[in-house]
Amino acid sequence: MAGKIQVRSLSGFLARRLIGKGARGIEVYLAITGAVLLVVVISMTLLSPYIAPYNPIIEAGPALQPPSSQFPMGTDHLGRDVYSRVIYGSIVALEVSLISSLLSSLVGTPFGLLSGFLGGKTDRLFSIIMDSIYAFPGLILAIAIAAMMGPGVINMSIAIAVVYIPTYFRMIRGQVLSIKEELYVDAARALGARNSTILFRYIFANVIPSLVVVLSLNIADAILTEAGLSYLGLGIPPPTPDWGFDLSKGKSFLPGGYWWMITFPGLMIVIVVLGFSLLGEGLNQILNPRLRER
C-alpha cells in the first residue's frame, strides 16, 4: 500500500497528522513556534548553573546598575545580577506549573472518566462538587489555599492544582460522554469486553489527545497563577529567584526609572506562557479534526 506509515506511538500519530495533507496550515507553525520557545526555556532551566554568569542570591556588583556588557539585564536593588535571577527563576516557575498541572490532571482525569462513564447519581455528585470548586474565582481560591498552607514549592503547587481540577474533570467528562456513544465501544461490548477494558483501552486512549492539549494550555495558566501568588508574597520565600516575586520588588523601583528589574522577569513570563499556549492551541487544532474543519 502506497504511503504506508506505521503509527506506533503518540509521536507517530503526530507525525502522521503533521505530514498529512490537511494539517499543513497555520496550526503546525503555531505548535512548532510554541515547541521551539519551550525547548529554549527548558534547556535554559536545566543548564541554569552553567549559563548564569553569577550566583543569583549573592551580590554581584553595585545596586541598580542599568544593563551593560557586564550585567546584560542590569542589577537589582541588592546588587544581584538580574540576568542570573531570570535564568534561575525559571526553575521555580516550571517546577510549580508542571507539578500543579500534573496533580490536577491526576485528580481531575479519573473523576472525569468515572463520572462520564458511570453517569447517573455518581455523575451528578461529582459534577456538583467540581462545579462548586469552579464557582470560586481561581486566583482568590489559590490565594486562600496558599495562605492557609504556607510557602513552598509543593504547597504552592497544591494550591494551584485545586483550582484547575475542574478544568480537567469537565473536559474529560465531556469527551467520555461523546466517545462512549461511538460504535467501537458498542462493538467492544458485544465482543465481551469488561467495563475496565472499555474504559481504558477504548475510551481513555481516545481522550489522551485532548488531555495533552489541556495539559499544555493549563501549564501556561498555572505559570501565571504562580507568578500571581509570588507577586503577592505567597510563593517561595526570598532570596530564591522567582519571577513573580521579582516583579513585585521591581514594581516599587519602577517609579525611580529602574525599568530593567521588572521588564525582564515579566518578559520571561510572557515567553513561557506564550510557548505553552501556542503549543497547546496548535496541538488542539492538529489533534482535533472537527476544530480544523471550521
Binding site: 500500500m1 504506508k4 506505521q6 503509527v7 461511538e182 460504535l183 467501537y184 458498542d186 462493538a187 467492544a188 461490548r189 458485544a190 465482543l191 465481551g192 469486553a193 469488561r194 477494558t197 483501552r201 477504548y202 486512549a205 481516545n206
Partner: protein
Amino acid sequence: MELLEVKDLKVYYYSDAGLVKAVDDVGFTLGKKQTLGIVGESGSGKSTLGFSIMRLVPAPGRIVGGSIFFDQENLLLKSEDEMRKIRGRRIGMVFQDPMTSLNPLMRIGDHLVETIMRHQTATKEQAMKRAEALLERLGISKTRIDDYPHQFSGGMRQRIMIGLALALNPDIVIADEPTTSLDVIVEAQIVELMRQLKRDFESSMVLITHNMGIVAELADTVVVMYAGKMMEISDSVSLYENPLHPYTKALLRSIPNIRLTSQELTFIPGLPPDLINPPKGCRFQPRCKYAMPRCAEEEPPLIKLETTRRVACFLHGG
C-alpha cells in the same frame, strides 16, 4: 429445543416523548447452522431485536417482557457478568458501519488478540498465530496485522469485524445490516464471505437487514417486521414464491429484479407509523391497499398457516 428461542419479546423505549414499543410480542426460533433473516424498514425494531439478544439495548430502552432462550437458558435471567462471557464467545455481533466499529487507536492484531485472549486461555503467541490465520481466512494478508483501522477500506474493515465476531467460533452471529454502508461489489464479496465462514464455522446466524436480496441469498427463515410487530414469518423459499402479507408483497415489489421485466418497480405509499401513537388495529393498515374496515378495529393475531408459516393478516383468516 432449538438453539435460540425468542418468545413474546417486548422491548420498550421510555423516551421523553412517550413510550415507544420498538419490539412488541416478537417470537421465533433458530436452529443450529440455520440463518434467520429479519427484514423491515428503518425503525421497524429489527436492530433493537438484535441488541436484545445480546442484552445490549441502549438506554432508555428496556426489555419488559418475554423470554430469550439460548441453549436452554433464559438470557433475560442472566447476570451482567454471565452475559459478558456469552458475548463474543458464544454469540458474536457484526455492526452496520465498519468505518467506526473499530477502535482507531488499536492495531488490527490487537483487536483480534484481545478478543481471543479475553475468553480463552492462550498465550500471546498462540493468540497471534490464530489472529494471523483468521486474517488469511478473511482474505487479508497477515502482513497487515500491525496496521491501524484507518489504513483499511470499508470492505476490509467489515471483513475484520466479521473475523472478530467469529474469532471464538460462536454458536450464533448476529449481523446487524452488515452490508448497508458498503458498495454493491463489496457487498457481494461480504455476502459470499459470510456464506463461506458460516459453513466453515458451523455457526447459526441472525441477519438483520432491509435488503431483501441478501436475505434471499443467505436466510433459511425470514421474519418480516413492521413498526415493532411481526407481520409474517416463513421459510425463505415460500416467502419469495408466495408472499402472504400485503406488506411483504409490497417489500418484494419494491426491489429491482432483472428477471421480472414486466413488473413495475413500486413503492409503499405513506410513512412508517409514529411508534408513540401507533395506528389502531393492524399497524400497516393505513398504508395497505387491501385494508378492510375490520383492520382498523382489531389487531390481527399471528395465524399459523403451514408448519413453517405464520402471518398477521385478516386476509388469511382469523
